[in-house]
Amino acid sequence: MTGHPLDSFFAPLAVAFAGSVKPGKIGFELIRNMKEGNYEGEIYPINPAGGDVLGYRVYPSVSALPGKIDLIVISLPHQAILDSLDQAGARGIKAAVVISSGFSEVGNDQAEKTLVETARRWGIRLIGPNCAGLMNPWARHFPSIEVRALPGYTALLTQSGALGGAALALAEERGFGFSKFISYGNRCDLGDIELLAYLADDPQTRAIVVYMEGVDRGREFLRAAKSASLRKPVVAIKAGRTRAGTRAASSHTGTMAGVDEVYNAAFRKAGILRVEGVEEMFDLCQAISHCPLPEGNKVAIVTNSGGPGILAADKAESLGLNVNEPSPSLVESLKPRLSPHASLKNPVDLTVESGYEEYAAALEAVLSEYDAAIVINVATPYLDSTGIARGVIEAAGRRRKPVLTSFMAGRIVKDAVGLLDEAQIVNLATGERCAFVLSKLTERTKILERSPFALLD
């Protein structure tokens, strides 16, 4: 532990759960998630009914708990929450997650105000209410009702618990891991601002993703985002772009979703990378976790098939990347090493018969001139795509430049993709998706390079 006041939330040694212990109820599910996640600290269920749940003794009240408790997770009905917070405060507990809903999101502002006042009186910091909890997969700490995340390097900070949950479920399918997951719900005390600052200094977090429907303390949020984005990439999924989305957002977590263009401008100023949705976010964060940043925007596309290469080139150029042709000297150096039918433009089309040697030679050569490369391989069953993957891995390993691949498709490239994964080379379904990711990595470089005074107003 680094001694940060919020560490009690993310790396507690003992956690109490105040809520129902009946199977199917939220309180029970939280405990089950902790147990199945192999949490190594102490788990203390609290319910007046007593007895046992999932092998843990149930205590009748917070006051009855033994030993020191770092965190309490509350999923009680309204009327019981304040009492349990008071007991927690008296026990010296300083961190509470309130899962229960029915507060400001449904217009019950008074109840939320009382909740915050009670917590303040005891010096308790709160996450929630109306949230899905949090996770620290590296500590096997899963006080959340969502699918347990794998350990990884991306932190997900979400206003909507369910979207966070859906993202976690999709991530699991992709084998994508998280450093932290926090659903902050109504952010009555700790919200995106405080948590951004925490994650900016969290050593396991390489990228911070924020899913937001609206901002409530705009200036503070931007300052926190600026500061965080100087340390690591901050990626935002901002919902409520359209009028329909805005309407839905305001009745979802009760925040005003502002004009989209205002958000775009603010995000640019704060150095936030905006993505449209969860898939784009995964693509980008996977690359952030494993790729170096490009120094410029010149991208080479190396392919063995025309069509996918052209699509990638179109997408790259439309996103502001430079897909210029190679210099005459690069063309000369490529010629003797590639098939006589190869097209030495950009995309460099190696033609279908190319294998290990051609890919390795072409990639190595283009990386001497370009800032990044997209390597496309449309596999044919009679050629060995694992050899091509090896060639790409070797050539990419010789330089600290981003190389993204798209090995197509499915079963015939499964082994090749396995090798790329092992070598931490990001492989995406299409060259266009690679181009999108590169455009965002280039944006990230520009954010770090821009005049520091652009950060101030």
Binding site: D201, S227, L230, L448, F453, L456
Partner: protein, 199 residues
């Protein structure tokens, strides 16, 4: 020794390159690998100058963005030119003096107030230290030796090399001004000794 990357900035003529070369000489004396990189632009007309010093096992003399353990700026606003290289949480050493350079002579209204510069740095690190290096250099008998005073101050908190090696390197770099330069170095060194860590 572990790796250490230092970025320096200032105005043409302030002696950024000299500081880099002195650090390199001290590194040579102590058997530490060193790489230097310099950017001089229109320095002769008072434009910005920056330099990188990388100690340890590096193959690239250019410090990556967010890659420098510390920054030294010989002029208040020039810290902006190397800010992108500062590692989050790293140290920033600034000569507190405002010296109008080429651009700020053309457009003095663009020179940022000190508060803004501090605000900017705090986005990335709380560890910033202003040194009255102009005054220390004058007290040492040479208004030119601002760079030496800053080097002394920095070295007090970051003992990359022994004081002896650095004084030797300072003397070797310029025999004529050796005494004034080493005096300024010592003033900077002692100035920090009596104060708190930059935090």
């Amino acid at each position: 020794m572990t790796q250490f990357s230092l970025a320096l900035s200032g105005l043409g003529g302030q002696g950024i390159m000299t500081v880099s070369q002195i650090l390199a000489a001290a590194a040579g004396r102590e058997g530490v690998r060193v790489l230097l990189f310099e950017g001089t632009g229109i320095s002769q007309r008072g434009g910005g100058v920056f330099g990188f010093v990388r100690l340890g096992d590096f193959s690239n003399p250019k410090i990556p963005l967010n890659g420098a353990e510390a920054l030294i700026s010989l002029e208040l606003s020039e810290v902006a030119s190397i800010f992108a290289f500062l590692k989050p949480g790293g140290e920033v050493w600034i000569n507190a003096a405002r010296i109008p350079g080429y651009y700020s002579k053309l457009r003095p209204e663009l020179y940022p107030p000190e508060g803004k510069i501090l605000d900017l740095i705090r986005l990335k690190t709380p560890r910033v230290r202003f040194i009255p290096a102009d005054r220390l250099a004058r007290e040492a008998g040479s208004a030119q030796a601002v760079n030496m005073a800053m080097l002394g101050a920095f070295i007090r908190r970051n003992p990359l090399f022994s004081k002896e090696s650095l004084i030797w390197a300072i003397e070797e770099s310029n025999k004529k001004f050796a005494e004034k330069n080493t005096n300024a170095f010592r003033r900077g060194f002692d100035f920090v000794q009596t104060e708190e860590t930059p935090e």
